[in-house]
């Protein structure tokens, strides 16, 4: 691939990604045939309820799907034009952290409790780059300041337990950004945080992404978070993407009955005194996904075709697409 073509290509291209776990009768898919792309510097949010497969999809990009899960051979994940699912393990290790970094919901589970946070960031840097300890420490300090850690130079020398949840998450973001990755994966990064701290962390992610040109894939169940940080949004249901579009399109003009239902079931001030819209039933478990459109068992608009036939992607605009028979037939649910 020429360097010009490389610059034009999306930073990340995922196609036909399928992740399965062994079940009682063969492999049970948990994510099935999803595709999406992220441009350089762009923030994509993948939204879904528990069991939708959104977190596993992010882990697959790092090739960190937990055993005994496996990524199906026909899956493609291209990062800067290179198929990273086919990379040998040492090459993948170089991508992980240096080019694609990840932060999780619980920062404490990813920090070593007996090493100062500064030393952990320095170690991460020197593992990937041939910098002296002084240079690495200077980089760590720069990153601590970038994510708004107060008294950054003193905070380098404290242990994780001496930091609040919000500061620990800032340390995690600083560590993730220390190698200047092109893509930051953030799995529910603010779910465990309090409201005032969540607002701070979302501002940090948005601000740092803009200043460093880092692309972000954020996994969340919260449309408030989506609105704060995302450029584009993909909604997942039962292992598939059911709708995608810009933040504005998805929040203002959602087309899929599931996206619509999710947005309407959020308690809003206008709903006060009335009944909240419910999506009846429960999210079906992997292995028990209905035939046809997987949402048809909970969809108020489902008809014969939805039961029989899986919907294909219908383009609503140049940026918005929906997997729903209604949209395919030019009707709105």
């Amino acid at each position: 691939m020429t360097s010009a073509a490389k610059a034009d290509a999306p930073l990340l291209e995922v196609a036909n990604l399928t992740i399965s776990f062994p079940g009682d009768v063969g492999l049970v898919p948990v994510v099935e045939g999803i595709g999406f792309s992220i441009a350089r510097g762009e923030t994509l949010a993948i939204v879904g309820e528990s069991g939708s497969g959104k977190s596993l999809s992010a882990l697959a990009l790092m090739r960190l799907v937990p055993r005994p899960g496996r990524i199906a051979p026909e899956s493609r994940v291209r990062f800067e034009g290179e198929d990273i699912l086919g990379l040998p393990v040492p090459a993948m290790r170089a991508v992980r952290g240096a080019k694609i970094a990840m932060i999780f919901q619980e920062p404490m589970t990813s920090l070593n409790p007996v090493v100062t946070v500064g030393a952990q960031v320095v170690e991460a840097i020197t593992l990937h780059e041939s910098l002296s300890r002084q240079e690495a420490r200077a980089r760590a300090l720069e990153m601590f300041k970038l994510v708004g850690i107060p008294d950054a130079d003193k905070r380098l020398d404290v242990y994780p337990h001496q930091l609040s949840g919000g500061l620990k998450q800032r340390v995690m973001i600083a560590m993730a950004l220390a190698m200047r990755p092109k893509l930051l994966l953030a799995d529910e990064p603010t779910t465990a945080l309090d409201a005032t701290i969540r607002a701070q962390i979302l501002a940090v992610i948005r601000d740092v992404a803009a200043r460093t040109g880092t692309a972000v894939l954020i996994i969340t169940h919260d449309f408030g978070v989506v609105n704060e940080v995302a450029d584009r949004v993909a909604v997942m249901y039962a292992g598939q993407i059911v709708e995608e579009g810009t933040r504005h399109e998805m929040l203002r003009h959602p087309k899929h009955p599931y996206t619509q239902g999710l947005l309407r079931s959020i308690p809003r001030p206008e709903a006060r005194g009335g009944k909240l819209e419910e999506i009846k039933g429960v999210v079906p478990r992997p292995g028990q996904w209905p035939k046809g459109c997987r949402f048809h068992t909970r969809c108020a608009f489902a008809y014969d075709r939805c039961v029989a036939e899986a919907p294909r992607r219908t383009a609503v605009t140049a940026t918005q697409g929906v997997w729903c028979h209604f949209a395919e037939e030019g009707r709105s649910p």
Binding site: S50, A195, T196, R198, A199, N227, V282
Partner: protein
């Protein structure tokens, strides 16, 4: 002598629940975590009072203190005219029936080795409701129908149900003993949003049908605005503001309430919070709360006195505000020179 409000179902006065912090070889009490430090609350029959705040503010401990799961260090808890803090354990048991709780994690709150029938019937047995086991089984079926669970499934175990269904089981168990007050501690926080809507609708229906009173402990302000009659905002062991839901959300007086509301992400794509004020810094530890007003280190409207004086409890038309800047009902500031 405290004058109690008319028709109040529950009145909490000066509640203080401190936890000793032991240190050293001799495990001497070195200090206290002031989880709840002088809380007043009033609940009227049939209303929903939301107790909101961030982690460590003491909201869960208030609920646990009312249930006497944490023994209050001081203060009184009046329920239907009786001070629960003065009762012996045996005497309290009769009241415990009237105050039930639904907790956050429906998985952890249900004994995995008991069938749903036994989980729901357990309370009835211990309070002598239903003459026989058969009668109680009928009552369990009734309860299950009330919370939209299929009574046919009563012989199954909790793990066979989804998160939302398990929360329905918790609610059925609580309602089985016919309580007057239900303490919901983050009862919908662990649920997906579409399931949360189902549970909130169920709680609203049950409240209308049975005149239930809810103490709704939560950090989710969206749920509060949709669901609560009145709101009490807690910060580091103290109530900083109370009022009707409408007034708290449209005209919050306390700077912390204002900051908390500003931190709720909007769902309007044209209104990102780029320009909203963001609260500075972290929540301090309740073991060493800041002097004066506990909120002063994070407050963007602080005055010189705020780190020195305990803020006055300023009466408002619909509640109180604990801040030197609050404008009281009478319109006269308690500390006029501090008005902006």
């Amino acid at each position: 002598m405290t004058v109690l409000s008319a028709r109040a179902l529950l009145e909490v006065r000066g509640l203080r629940t401190w936890f000793p912090v032991r240190r050293g070889v001799l495990q001497r009490v070195a200090s206290h975590i002031r989880a709840v430090d002088g809380v007043d609350l009033t609940l009227h029959a049939g209303e929903t009072l939301a107790l909101v705040g961030e982690s460590g503010c003491g909201k869960t401990t208030v609920g646990r203190s009312i249930l006497r799961l944490n023994e209050p260090s001081a203060g009184s808890i009046w329920f239907e005219g009786t001070d629960l803090t003065l009762l012996s354990d045996a005497e309290f048991k009769a009241y415990r029936r009237k105050i039930q709780v639904v907790m956050q994690d429906p998985g952890a709150a249900l004994d995995p080795r008991m069938t749903v029938r036994d989980i729901i019937a357990e309370g009835m047995e211990s309070f002598g409701i239903g003459g026989s086991a058969t009668e109680r089984t009928d009552l369990v079926a009734q309860m299950m129908r009330k919370v939209s669970l299929d009574p046919e499934t009563m012989w199954r175990y909790p793990h066979e149900f989804s998160g939302g269904q398990r929360q329905r089981i918790s609610i059925a168990r609580a309602l089985a003993v016919d309580p007057a007050l239900l303490i919901c501690d983050e009862a919908t926080s662990a649920l997906d949003v579409s399931i949360q809507a189902q549970i909130l609708n169920l709680l609203a229906e049950l409240q209308r049908a049975q005149n239930l009173t809810y103490l709704f402990i939560t950090h989710d302000l969206g749920v509060v605005r949709y669901f609560a009659t009145r709101v009490a905002v807690m910060y580091l062991g103290r109530i900083v503001e109370t009022g009707t839901t409408e007034r708290i959300f449209t005209a919050p007086q306390h700077p912390y309430t204002q900051a908390l509301l500003a931190s709720v992400p909007s769902l309007d794509p044209d209104k990102r919070s780029d320009t909203k004020p963001i609260v500075l810094g972290d929540i301090p530890s309740p073991e060493h709360p800041p002097s004066g007003c506990h909120y002063h280190p994070r407050c963007q409207q602080r005055r010189d006195v705020c780190d020195r004086i305990d803020p006055p409890v300023v009466p408002l038309a619909d509640g109180i505000c604990r801040c030197v800047l609050a404008v009281p009902e009478s319109g006269r500031s308690p500390t006029p020179e501090l008005q902006p």
